[in-house]
């Protein structure tokens, strides 16, 4: 097995804070943030990132494609 890690990222300005991802997360990682984004919505944020097992349920449920889970090699931590 090679050294791969997963990177979870939320495009804050795409998020409309509908909360569907929060409702489907099996590990209760996500919550609605109390900071407003550019469009005036309260976006989602990872409250407990250490619990995330990168199952992708939130990506599947997100209607605005704001969540992405990508693979990054240990030595290649490029930012999106």
């Amino acid at each position: 097995m090679d050294c791969m890690t997963y990177k979870f990222s939320i495009d804050v300005d795409r998020c409309k804070g509908c909360g569907l991802c929060v409702s489907v997360c099996p590990k209760k990682v996500l919550e609605i943030s109390d900071k407003v984004n550019k469009k005036g919505y309260f976006p989602v944020r990872q409250a407990h990132p250490e619990d995330c097992n990168f199952c992708g349920a939130c990506y599947l449920m997100c209607p605005d494609v704001a969540i992405s889970i990508t693979e990054t090699a240990e030595d290649d931590r490029e930012q999106e």
Binding site: K16, C18, L20, Y59, I67
Partner: protein, 250 residues
């Protein structure tokens, strides 16, 4: 590994104009993923409907043609007959397909036109402000049925998938939903199958997607999912209604 979840390439960076929790964006993503996976981006033509998804051409970067209300199947027929090498799909809502355009879709299915229809059923006219649609559930409050849909006055909701599967012409008619991750996986498989039938030149295909409209239902997105699961899924049964192999319908 292959557990990578990111925006499909064919989707543009533009944020959608949909209300928070609207599953249109999700269904756009499923269509975009299928287009990416089948590698048909260069030869796909979509027919945009009239309804909330009218700006779909801003979000999926394939060629699009805007059609008059309900007439997307007629336009798709024209494009597909002139250019059979193209992959043509229409994306329609329930006010568009089940009400104004019901004649077009029935005749397109009956002629066995080789295009794919994505039919989004959210039980309400979304864009025009939440009026009652042919697919509105009995007792459901809308702006034109403020005391709930009265079955004795306007009848029961139309089950488009079952209706179209009574047609003898071979076709692929299925009903899916996108309100839970497990259903989303199945819905994507169905959309892919529908596109594949078209690529093989086999038959007309229609994927009905039961979805939610939190704004016009007056619920939060999470409540809307619960309502759809409890109310709509017991009436709109999920699954394949007709496949080209099983010539006879339900």
């Amino acid at each position: 590994m292959g557990r990578i979840f990111r925006k499909p390439e064919v989707m543009t960076d533009e944020p959608t104009h949909y209300c928070p929790g609207c599953t249109h964006g999700l269904i756009h993503r499923l269509v975009a993923e299928v287009i990416d996976e089948l590698g048909i981006r260069g030869r796909t033509v979509g027919i945009a409907p009239v309804g909330c998804a009218v700006f779909i051409y801003n979000y999926i970067s394939v060629d699009f043609q805007e059609s008059a209300h309900g007439r997307a199947p007629a336009m798709a027929t024209g494009i597909k007959r002139v250019r059979p090498d193209l992959i043509v799909f229409t994306y329609q809502g329930d006010g568009d397909l089940a009400s104004i355009g019901i004649a077009e879709i029935i005749h397109a299915a009956n002629r066995g036109e080789k295009f794919t229809t994505i039919f989004v059923n959210n039980a309400v006219y979304g864009m025009t402000g939440g009026q009652m649609a042919p697919t509105t559930m009995p007792g459901q409050r809308t702006t034109t049925s403020p005391f709930g849909r009265k079955v004795e006055e306007v009848g029961m909701p139309i089950k488009i998938a079952e209706l179209l599967s009574t047609i003898e012409t071979p076709g692929y008619i299925t009903r899916q939903t996108v309100i839970k991750p497990k259903y989303i996986v199945q819905a994507k498989k169905a959309i892919k199958k529908a596109f594949k039938y078209q690529m093989e030149g086999r038959c007309f295909s229609l994927v009905e997607v039961v979805s939610i409209c939190p704004t016009n239902w007056g619920l939060t997105p999470v409540e809307a999912v619960k309502w759809a699961e409890e109310t709509m899924l017991s009436y709109y049964k999920l699954g394949d209604c007709k496949t080209p192999d099983s010539h006879k319908g339900v």
